[in-house]
């Protein structure tokens, strides 16, 4: 369940893109750790979810993120041939190739869903990718597509009424 919104002061601040990253724990997550270990700074807009493998990432996760209001999603795994499970990233590559085409065809901004290969040795690349993705998503603006508010049947304006307080 979602947390209560932060106080109003937060909302007045400039909009910041919210990006969710799904990182395989062997390569990309380790790459991000290396970026940390090497103190390579990058924007704080990304929230990382650790998964065993890029092949674990169900495209529906991506959809759920965008539907829930994330402005961008980044899936990152090992380079081809490097998968700790030898094949997981190959399956991921196929799935996301198709999924990306589908989203683009439906008119979803392609900048909102990105995929990268980052190895455990590529701390610098990781930082670069986060920078680029954040910039691109910032340019794309807030996600108003898949996270659009619910459309009402009739256009009648609504009022909110408190029912009870406990």
């Amino acid at each position: 369940m979602t947390e209560s919104r932060e106080p109003n002061t937060e909302q007045q601040e400039e909009w910041q893109p919210k990006i969710i990253g799904f990182l395989c724990k062997w390569c990309s997550y380790a790459g991000a750790d290396l970026a940390g270990g090497s103190r390579i700074p990058y924007p704080a807009n990304i929230r990382i979810i650790r998964v065993p493998c890029s092949g674990r990432v169900n495209p529906l996760f991506v959809l759920k993120c965008l539907e829930n209001g994330a402005d961008g999603v980044l899936v990152s795994g090992c380079h081809p041939g490097d998968c700790h499970y030898s094949e997981g990233n190959y399956y991921a590559r196929r799935k996301f190739a198709v999924f990306k085409k589908l989203l683009e065809y439906l008119g979803v901004d392609p900048r909102r869903f990105q995929v990268s290969w980052v190895s455990a040795a590529e701390g610098e690349k990781w930082a670069e990718i986060v920078k680029t993705v954040v910039e691109e998503v910032r340019a794309a603006g807030p996600n108003k597509q898949l996270s659009a508010p619910v459309d009402k049947c009739s256009g009648a304006p609504v009022k909110r009424k408190h029912l009870k307080n406990d």
Partner: protein, 313 residues
């Protein structure tokens, strides 16, 4: 054709080769057909074959498989070339066994669009009158215009069309099967989004698209699950879009383009246009076409080292 169909089915039933035959019979309106289930030889008269046999009856094979797996008899199914593709898909994905089904293949010159009927609902005109105004080509379903399987690729019995008996199989016409997809691809991203937004907004979540689909055989659709709740069960633009994306994605590399989802949709969302797009991409990227080989690995459960990855940073 009808006569031969009835005879053959009668024989199958008489010889106890099948327990049940799924076929078409006339609907109450006297024009269109409806699926029927023939169990006794004296019922075979009900079977018909005409240009209104749009339904993909392989959908019912899942529901009748219990019958088929019982010791002796099999299930007979009347199937057009396109329907056979979904039967291949069902065998490929372990839903039925080839030797449990008797495929009664029909040579098919194409099925008619029920759009006439739709017009009739809007304009208050009679279907029959409307029908007269259209030539045969004009009434053909969109999917039939680019058909390459007038004669099914796999069958146990083939009922040939009387009109071209002995004639070679009709050549597939020079129709661009992806014309509609390409038209949409040519639009800007924002235009595409506005287009689909409007279409998805109409969705009422009746799941007719799913229920009619021969390959939507999951015992419990992900849309019906609550823990976690992947797809909001209520109709709203957000949930509708998610549902439609998931539906399309779950058919990626599996859809055999029978077009049943689009036909069944009461809100007339152009679902085929999405399925077709994914079919096109999978063919281009992975050189795979669904419904041709029951031994093939489904493309999303497979990979090649040289698969495209330009989209990956």
């Amino acid at each position: 054709m009808i006569k031969r169909l009835q005879e053959k089915v009668g024989k199958l039933l008489r010889e106890k080769k099948v327990a049940l035959v799924i076929g078409y019979e006339m609907a109450g309106d006297g024009i269109s057909t409806t699926p029927c289930f023939i169990e006794r030889e004296d019922e075979v008269e009900r079977l018909v074959w005409n240009e209104h046999c749009v339904y993909n009856l392989s959908r019912y094979l899942i529901e009748t498989r219990e019958l088929a797996s019982s010791p002796s008899p099999k299930i007979g199914v009347v199937a057009k070339g396109c329907d056979v593709k979904s039967i291949i898909g069902l065998i490929q994905e372990n839903q039925i066994k080839r030797d449990e089904v008797v495929i009664i293949g029909m040579e098919c010159e194409g099925q008619f669009d029920v759009e006439g009927e739709r017009q009739f609902k809007v304009e208050g005109l009679k279907l029959k009158d409307k029908d007269k105004d259209k030539d045969k080509e004009g009434k053909l379903l969109e999917k039939c215009k680019a058909c390459e399987v007038h004669i099914p690729k796999v069958y146990d019995l083939l009922i040939k069309d009387d009109r071209n008996s002995g004639a070679p199989e009709p050549q597939s016409p020079e129709v661009n099967a992806y014309a509609q997809v390409e038209e949409l691809e040519g639009k800007s991203q924002e235009e595409r989004w506005q287009y689909w937004k409007k279409e998805f907004a109409r969705c009422i979540k009746c799941y007719a698209c799913r229920q009619v689909c021969p390959l939507c055989f999951c015992p419990q659709c992900i849309a019906d699950q609550t823990l976690p709740q992947w797809i909001s069960p209520s109709p709203s633009l957000k949930g509708n879009t998610t549902w439609n994306i998931v539906r399309a994605f779950h058919l990626a590399g599996r859809c055999i383009d029978c077009g049943e989802c689009e036909r069944a949709c009461p809100m007339k969302i152009p679902l085929r246009k999405i399925n077709k797009k994914l079919g096109k991409e999978i063919k281009e990227m992975f050189d795979y076409e669904a419904g041709l080989d029951s031994e093939a690995k489904p493309p999303l459960a497979d990979f090649k080292l040289e698969d495209p990855e330009e989209f990956i940073r």
